[in-house]
């Protein structure tokens, strides 16, 4: 049961398989079977994995903590009523820069973060995978841009990404499957004008948003509510694409089911996932378990799975589970103009620049950032204004200027720090699980990068004729916590997302990122999931599925 936007409870389906829908777990398709794969989390990575593995005729069960959303009735054009698309369950936060979680960074329910993400769909640059070798910061990934190239291309194709004729930065310059969105929002026009005046290259970004019909879905109508869930289904999510495909190919998807344990056999291999549905414990046996529960919940689950041989948590012989949590720094800069802008109009991000993405030694820090023209609605605006210290009359005056404000948002690389981490609190949640504590502090290097990006955002807005009014500190996108690497002593999974300690346990989500890159991460998460699926299937063909 889940509350409807109006408050009353809706009875929901929790068991979904081809031709069947149940609001209880009494008619399971794979209930007592040992399936080939059990996936925890139906978000960006979990959705892609379920689709790939079901298409290859493996028997797949997906266990998802949140509801199976219905865009027609569950998504509303309203900020307050759609906060529940985020992971609202309380996490404790600590450190010098305690994180804002919930709707700001984490999804819950089928689709995960893709139901309410903004749809900016960027590839990482080749340098993002080799920051240690190139710049002496962070760590190198155990794989390279070339390893993901094919998967980036496939994902862009199936999502029907719309993008510019030529994308100026990184390794890939187009073409994209669909043309760039043509109508550009007033805020994006301001951004383009400012960039042009300063000689900074900018373009309409590649978006997981349709510019023309595709697969029975209409093109975007510029309503601007991407962060509240797309009602017309113009924006991609795994809720409307990969999960339904997986179901059509035979997967069973269980929603409103919270995984609470990975059960380990005497041989040290994972053998089942325990999960809670409406207060009752259930068990799904599987030959392979893949954890796709994102950055906080994956380490939280692993750290609570203790037993002989893994006293400090499952897959944690390195002590790295939970460590190296990252965000993107994401300060918002607002400037006021003499004429109206109207930040509510159009898809939120319709202009972007990666002119400051790579390392430039003259700036005094390594790595870089992306700048987006980024729309905003009233609740988001006041949250930024309150965060910048305004209340009372000052807050009201700033709000009255809403339609005269333009906004630029940065997406800045944050270096991994092992002290930024997920650990367990003594306090427990409704499932009896210990709550997560997330420690986070920005480093001095991160601060220098932020200062530079804020300076460039100001310059762009001022060059367009604006007067900077507010700088609202913020963060976006969680990453890390179960880093991938070649060395079992310093990482949790290998380049195939397979745990060093437990060979039939995989982790695939933003959690495995060793570094954050300086752009929106989801296309890379999905490409990584596609690659993980391909590697797993190769192993299955070689009959190594139950390794050890």
């Amino acid at each position: 049961m889940a509350p409807s936007p109006g408050g009353e409870a809706i009875r929901r389906h929790c068991d979904h398989y081809s031709g069947h829908l149940f609001d209880h777990l009494d008619h399971r398709k794979f209930g007592d079977d040992e399936v080939d794969v059990c996936i925890v989390g139906a978000g960006a990575a979990g959705g892609v994995l379920a689709q790939r593995l079901a298409a290859a005729r493996l028997r797949v069960v997906v266990v998802e903590a949140g509801p199976f959303w219905d865009p027609a009735t569950d998504f509303v054009s309203d900020e307050l009523a759609t906060q529940r698309l985020g992971w609202q369950d309380t996490r404790l936060v600590a450190g010098r820069d305690p994180l804002k979680l919930g709707h700001n960074t984490c999804g819950r329910g089928v689709g995960g973060g893709t139901t309410h993400f903004t749809g900016v769909f960027l590839r990482f640059h080749a340098s993002d995978f080799r920051t240690r070798s190139l710049d002496g910061v962070g760590v190198d990934w155990p794989l390279t841009y070339q390893d993901l190239e094919l998967h980036y291309r496939q994902i862009e194709h199936e999502v029907a990404v719309s993008g510019p004729l030529r994308f100026p930065w990184g390794e890939y310059h187009g073409p994209y499957p669909y043309p760039a969105r043509s109508a550009v929002s007033p805020n994006a026009q301001v951004f383009q004008r400012g960039c042009a005046a300063l000689g900074i290259e900018s373009c309409v970004p590649p978006l997981a948003i349709l510019s023309a019909p595709h697969a029975g879905r209409p093109p975007c109508i510029n309503r601007g509510f991407c962060n509240q869930g797309c009602k017309p289904n113009s924006k991609f999510s795994t809720l409307i694409q990969h999960i339904p495909q997986a179901i059509a190919d035979g997967a069973e998807v269980l929603s409103d089911c919270m995984a609470t344990q990975v059960e380990v056999g005497r041989d040290g291999a994972a053998r089942a996932v325990l999960f809670d549905h409406e207060g009752r414990e259930h068990r799904q046996r599987a030959r392979v378990v893949i954890l796709c529960g994102f950055v906080v919940e994956t380490p939280r689950l692993l750290l609570q799975c203790t037993g002989p041989g893994h006293e400090d948590g499952l897959a944690n012989s390195s002590g790295m589970v939970g460590r190296g949590v990252m965000v993107h720094s994401s300060h918002d800069v607002y400037a006021a103009f003499a004429d109206e802008v109207r930040l509510y109009k159009g898809t939120p991000v319709l202009a972007t620049t990666q002119a400051y993405y790579g390392t430039d030694p003259s700036r005094g820090f390594a790595r870089g950032y992306t700048l987006h023209a980024h729309g905003a609605r009233p609740v988001e605006l006041v949250s930024g204004l309150c965060g910048a210290g305004l209340w009372g009359l000052e807050l009201r005056e700033a709000m009255r200027e809403y339609n005269y404000l333009a906004r630029v948002t940065m997406i800045g690389e944050v270096l991994p720090d092992q002290d930024n981490r997920v650990r367990l609190a003594d306090e427990r949640d409704a499932h009896g699980m210990r709550r997560a504590v997330v420690d986070f502090s920005l480093g001095e290097h991160d601060q220098r990068l932020i200062a530079h990006a804020v300076g460039r955002a100001r310059a762009i807005l001022e060059a367009a004729g604006g007067t900077v009014r507010h700088v609202a500190p913020d963060t976006a996108h969680l990453l890390g916590g179960c880093r991938m690497g070649d060395d079992a002593a310093t990482s949790v999974v290998d380049g195939d997302c397979r745990c060093h300690d437990v060979p039939n346990l995989y982790i695939c989500s933003g959690a495995v990122f060793p570094t954050s890159g300086g752009g929106n991460p989801t296309e890379t998460i999905m490409a990584l999931a596609a690659r993980t699926a391909a590697r797993l299937l190769e192993r299955a063909r070689r009959r190594e599925l139950t390794a050890v």
Binding site: V76, V184, I221, V379, C386, L390, E394, R396
Partner: protein, 235 residues
């Protein structure tokens, strides 16, 4: 107060007049804000304290808006949805709110809704002190992190304010957009259903130049400029 002193920027615009253009789920959610139910989790005294605090936090007098703000607090207290995040050492939301409201009343010199009985200027002073972590008497707030209490009160009040249709009309936010989206997107061109600003309004709504409040301080934090330098550059 800001809301009723100045003439409207968007004269004649009422976002609710567009409600038939919205999908039914959204329409129901927004319409419900105009007639919120009576508080169920908050006591009558607590509700009065919330309203009085919100009046200062939001510089807002209109009772229909304050009633909705109170009902938003009330629904948070009734809901079992989590808080997203809570800083280590801060009491859980319900506890923080309940004890915090009682503490405001104690600091105002009494039980019940004593805070609501204070003159407006004193209410404002107490809230400003809370924001700065130095509200007196300290023992009224014993065991309560004052800044966290201030942020919780402000955060909940402000998100409710920014969700009220009367405020949308006031700031010229065109509200929900589905099934109808936006089609005239260039700067300065409007779809017929969007609000029109009074041409003379721009002058009236320019905020007083940064008077050393939170914003300038933040600017100095993030890029090392002083608010004064910032001022000069703008000319």
């Amino acid at each position: 107060m800001a809301s009723d002193a100045a003439p409207p920027v968007y004269p004649g615009f009422d976002v609710m007049a567009e409600r038939l253009a919205w999908d039914p789920a959204t329409r129901a959610v927004v319409a419900a804000r105009l007639s919120p139910g009576r508080p169920q989790a908050l006591t009558e005294a607590e509700a009065r304290t919330v309203a009085a605090a919100a009046r200062q936090l939001l510089a807002e007098d209109r009772s229909e808006i304050l009633t909705f703000v109170v009902s938003h607090f009330d629904s948070r207290l009734q809901s079992d949805a989590g808080e997203g995040q809570r800083e280590v050492g801060v009491p859980p939301e319900a506890d923080l709110l309940r004890r915090g409201l009682a503490a405001l009343d104690r600091a105002a010199g009494g039980e019940g809704a004593a805070f609501a009985g204070l003159p407006a200027a004193e209410q404002r002073e107490l809230i400003a002190a809370l924001a700065a972590d130095r509200a007196e008497p300290a023992d009224a707030f014993a065991g309560l992190p004052q800044k966290a209490l201030f942020s919780k009160l402000l955060g909940l009040a402000a998100e409710a304010l920014a969700s009220h249709p009367a405020v949308w009309s006031e700031i010229g936010y065109a509200g929900p957009a589905y099934p109808r989206g936006y089609y005239r997107l260039g700067r300065g061109v409007l779809d017929p259903w969007e609000p029109r600003a009074d041409p003379a309004a721009r002058r009236r709504i320019t905020p007083r130049e940064q008077s050393g409040g939170g914003v300038s301080a933040r600017l100095a934090d993030v890029d090392g400029r002083t608010p004064a330098a910032d001022h000069q550059e703008r000319g």
